[in-house]
Symmetry: C2
Subunit: 338 residues, 2 copies
DNA sequence: ATGAAAGCGCTAACAA
DNA sequence: TTGTTAGCGCTTTCAT
């Protein structure tokens, strides 16, 4: 059974394909003609072939999003926000997940390219542009990256104010009397991790303090668990606060502390970065720095749409502010704030 | 700057487009020709147009996945598993997220259809097939649904053994002495929720028990929180266990109990269904029934691939077994099992 | 207002 | 072995 095309509809309606095309595209035709054609189309269950349309038009009308790990709740929230922003603009969004594998990231870019998405939102695995991206750039493929280290010709960047957020967080910890602050940083090359560390170090310095202890994680729950174990594993902890470079690690650290019988925040305060919905589900709930997915998403979409309009635009970088969310893991009374 | 096509490569290499096409497709040509052509292609930065290829071939070589909520960690894990399974088979997978809105679900199906994915994995918002699906089915669009209520012509179904899993869970609770078991069920029309309730009710009956109390949720964390509040809100709880239809609700219930100062599992045991990675991050970690994403994913892919091979296959339903995961929320000693 | 025809970029059947 | 050509299904001049 062959697919139904414009031709079939035209035959049934007794007109030419161009007339059918016009009717379907809303271009004026003789009265009565429209209904007749639409009728035939409906009778045949006609569905336009988007491939042919896109091939003809030279664009697909959909955007792509590539994320490294769909199981990371914050990335899932960012994806949701982008999806929603695109929906409001009447644009389709398709998602690809690279599972944290650089090679798979290339494959996903190829897949999106193959489907000729008009532009790509890129959250990358590493702090280094995928090799194939420079080829694409040559072909004017608009890309918005969520990592400043990608900034380059034809690539716009949206990022949270990681440095400022981290500073605000440290100021908070100091204000509640913490002086021995340990850090769980990220060993991945991602700019977000680097900037957060810079922010923390900087703020500590301003308070005349230094990082009490350091653990290098990888943004995962497991590494947060390991980090806390490293800090408090042997005897009474010499630290009174742990700052993790993201919430996943903070939640891991929190769990280790709680399971070890420590009081949080009494013995040790714990804070993360991102603010995912699950971050307020812990007991105590997690103090964190929120990087708002909606804000990032709308900024990213604006960037992409404007570049779609004018490919000659210079590379731009937009920085979105963060918000400190004080909750139970640093402030006993604030246990249930959203 | 025009896009580079086969024609341009052909011109540069001084051959015809078909020769270029052959070289790129690995079809034997005269020695030396291949390198020369490949060279030209590389020099021009040629990238094949997947749209044209797919249009020509009548298929895109990629599959689609439509999920209702990317922020649901279990769905994210299912998506990962499908992605991985497809990757191993050398097939591309693109994802769409309907954000739990039925209208958006239709739009996503349209989007996937527009991109002419060769088949679709569908996790639906409701226990009712999207209207547009029946149109597609007419056009031989292979669909694998993760909900038995979608079973129909041209639609295969993969599901976990929800009834069996729920029964095993109740047997466990009874074996540890619980007799007053409350249920947080799901009010959505999804078959999974219905089946789990059937399994629980059935197992209770076999033990000569009945549901001690019931709350109707919606598979969300918030509704789990509300459910537990409903059960234990007023005075001492008359129940000694809570079974939720999924982990998200169980985690909500767990948090409410812990925050209320109850001992878990001492005062009340809590169990869920699904087994997401975050389910073992709670304190105590959550007893649950695992429906394995890998198992479901490989079964679903098998179904889809076989139907791609032979569209005439009758509708099939595959049921995958579940595994009881006993952890700290029902069994104090089991706190850290994976 | 409508139809014929060119062509988007590619592959495959057919010729040479 | 290689080139020519006819479409895949659609939109869009260009004639009519």
């Amino acid at each position: 059974m062959a697919r139904i095309g414009l031709k079939d509809v035209a035959a049934l309606a007794g007109v030419s394909v161009s007339t059918v095309s016009r009717v379907l595209r809303g271009i004026p035709v003789k009265d009565g003609m429209a209904v007749q054609v639409r009728d035939a189309a409906h009778k045949l269950g006609y569905q336009p072939n988007g491939l042919a349309q896109a091939l003809r038009a030279g664009k697909s009308g959909t955007l792509g999003l590539l994320i490294p790990d769909i199981s990371n709740p914050w990335l899932a929230e960012l994806a949701s926000a982008l999806e929603e922003a695109c929906r409001l603009s009447g644009i389709g969004l398709i998602l690809c997940n690279s599972g944290n594998r650089p090679d798979q990231e290339e494959m996903c870019l190829d897949l999106l390219w193959k489907h000729r998405v008009d532009g790509v939102f890129l959250v990358s695995v590493r702090g280094q542009a995928p090799a194939s991206l420079s080829e694409r750039a040559r072909a004017d493929w608009p890309v918005v990256a969520f990592d400043r280290s990608y900034a380059g010709p034809g690539i716009d960047v949206v990022m949270a104010d990681n440095v400022g957020g981290a500073q605000a967080l440290v100021n908070h910890l100091v204000s509640i009397g913490r002086r021995n602050i340990a850090q769980i940083v990220s060993g991945t090359g991602l700019a977000a991790g680097i900037d957060r560390r810079v922010g923390v170090d900087d703020a500590l310095r301003r308070h005349g303090l230094r990082t009490a202890d350091l653990y290098v994680g990888d943004f995962s729950y497991a590494s947060g668990l390991a980090g806390a174990e490293h800090f408090i594993g042997r005897g009474a902890p010499a630290i009174d606060a742990i700052v993790a470079a993201n919430d996943l690690m903070a939640i891991g650290a929190l769990r280790h502390c709680v399971e070890s019988g420590l009081e949080v925040p009494g013995d040790v305060a714990i804070a993360g970065f991102d603010d995912m919905s699950i971050s307020s589900w812990t007991s105590p709930s997690l103090t964190t720095v929120r990087q708002d997915p909606e804000l990032l998403a709308t900024a990213a979409l604006d960037l992409l749409l404007s570049r779609l309009d004018d490919a000659g635009l210079p590379p731009r970088t937009v920085t979105v502010p963060c918000t400190l969310k004080v909750r139970g893991s640093t402030h006993p009374g604030a246990s249930d704030q959203p």
